[in-house]
Symmetry: C2
Subunit: 288 residues, 2 copies
């Protein structure tokens, strides 16, 4: 893990994660799997439904069951904010647990923040300093001053939306600009100038596998965070064939297919098995 | 206030706010001022710096000092998230206080959320049901399924980014599309089809006053939320001349210029005076 300093891994201090760290971790784990931690109270397994601290208990069980098969975790903020104060507390405990138990795993706050400069700096403070995430997903609509503040934290990453996995990606992201290419490509080109492959990932949806090869050709050095495998219908093999590189190059997310693999008392074991299968599917693509 | 049912105004029940309610409130107050509640710990006035519940105490003082001069409040989530759990608690107490003390004031969560359908629904749950905001700012990059869920709550509003007030608006929002108009206009046209002027506002920055008349011409019935007056340099008179309508049509936001009008023990009085001056500047434009 090169320059990574383990003693910095306390919940309230920055925990630098370099590109070399990430590449080494992917090789060591033989996996590019990112587990999305999106706990929905109504979908929690039976044994946890009446647990006083259900969200964190669920996350901890899922993390312990999947850590050997993945390299990253990605809590989606909406699922915590929907629970109010208790949700925010569950989020804080979850990132602290990842930091202490699995300090080499890459932790992404899926918050899709984007706002003017002084506000963006407050979000960076919230997610990089206070909560010690490695990375934050960022919505690019408002342009440079809404993205750049997230690129100023050494060892922290902005994960900027490029071409997303949802049907609505057709509405604006895929629109052709007068200058002759799609909006999402313009966004990715601009953002790749503001930052670099050491502090920026791009979101490229698995459901857009048909465009993945073109996008990889344009951005050969960047890691892509790939949502859309599983519940959203993206195909793992197509994503790997089009997007993987000699350094791995992908963090492939799965959320619901792992979290809710079983609703019974075997939920953690079922999640582990689902994660293991996804990892197996990545064999041979995790860098050389 | 027409069909507004005051008994629904508890913190955990929806508090419907119709377009007619908003128009009536603007007329009654002779104001279109929205006060941005963006408390920064390092900028709090001296008397509150050591207060055990400083953020809420500050907000409450600002709200009480400005309520007679404004029609809306807009907490920016970043400033609460940067404070962790205590910040989320201050936000919860702030919206509950607005609801109980000033139930006719329009409450906007400035969160700029935007994500796929199942996630967007969780954000709607967080801000419309659990926290009982009237409106939520929404980032449109991901398209229809990231916006539509916010339009399905009767009496609640999506405030969708159109043309923002920051320098970065030039990077993508103002880009010309192959079909011959700017991206932000395409966004506004599409969103105005998904929703209507009873459940959608648009963000149109005060620093874009030169384009305000064109935008108003294209969207004559929508309310615009206008940031950028004050610290960002937008001109109030230009905004009013180009954007006001016979129903008012604007919510004009000021944050830092009000919140930090004084750093001494007279901060609330100074905030009140600043809000009063802005309200005076809107005389004759608040509908007829």
């Amino acid at each position: 893990m090169g320059a990574k300093v383990e003693s910095l891994c306390s919940p309230n201090l920055p925990n630098p994660m370099t590109r070399a760290d990430l590449i080494a971790h992917i090789r060591a784990q033989s996996s590019m799997l990112c587990v999305g931690l999106d706990p929905e109270r109504t979908r929690l397994p039976e044994p946890l439904k009446d647990h006083p601290d259900a969200l964190f208990a669920f996350n901890k069980a899922i993390i312990d069951a999947t850590a050997q098969h993945c390299v990253a975790y990605k809590p989606n903020l909406a699922f915590y904010e929907a629970e109010g104060l208790a949700g925010w507390e569950a989020l804080s405990r979850t990132i602290a647990y990842i930091r202490s138990a699995y300090p080499k795993h890459f932790a992404i706050a899926d918050a899709k923040r984007g706002d003017i400069g002084n506000t963006a700096r407050m979000y960076a403070e919230a997610f990089f300093t206070r909560l010690d995430f490695d990375a934050l997903t960022v919505a690019p609509y408002m342009g440079s001053d809404s993205v750049r503040p997230f690129l100023e934290y050494p060892g922290k990453w902005a994960v900027v939306l490029g071409l997303t996995s949802n049907p609505g990606a057709l509405d604006f992201e895929e629109l052709e600009l007068a200058k002759g290419h799609a909006l999402f490509l313009e966004v990715m080109r601009a953002v790749s100038q503001w930052g670099n492959s050491d502090n920026t990932l791009f979101v490229v949806g698995a459901t857009r596998a048909g465009r993945m090869a073109e996008i990889r050709g344009a951005f050969p050095e960047h890691f892509f965070l790939v949502p859309g495998i599983g519940a959203q219908g993206g195909n793992l093999q197509e994503v790997l064939d089009a997007g993987a590189t000699d350094f791995g190059g992908l963090l492939i997310n799965a959320s619901r297919s792992i979290l809710y693999a079983s609703s019974g008392s075997d939920f953690a074991q079922a999640a582990s098995e689902e994660a293991r299968k996804l990892k197996e599917g990545m064999r041979g693509y995790t860098g050389s």
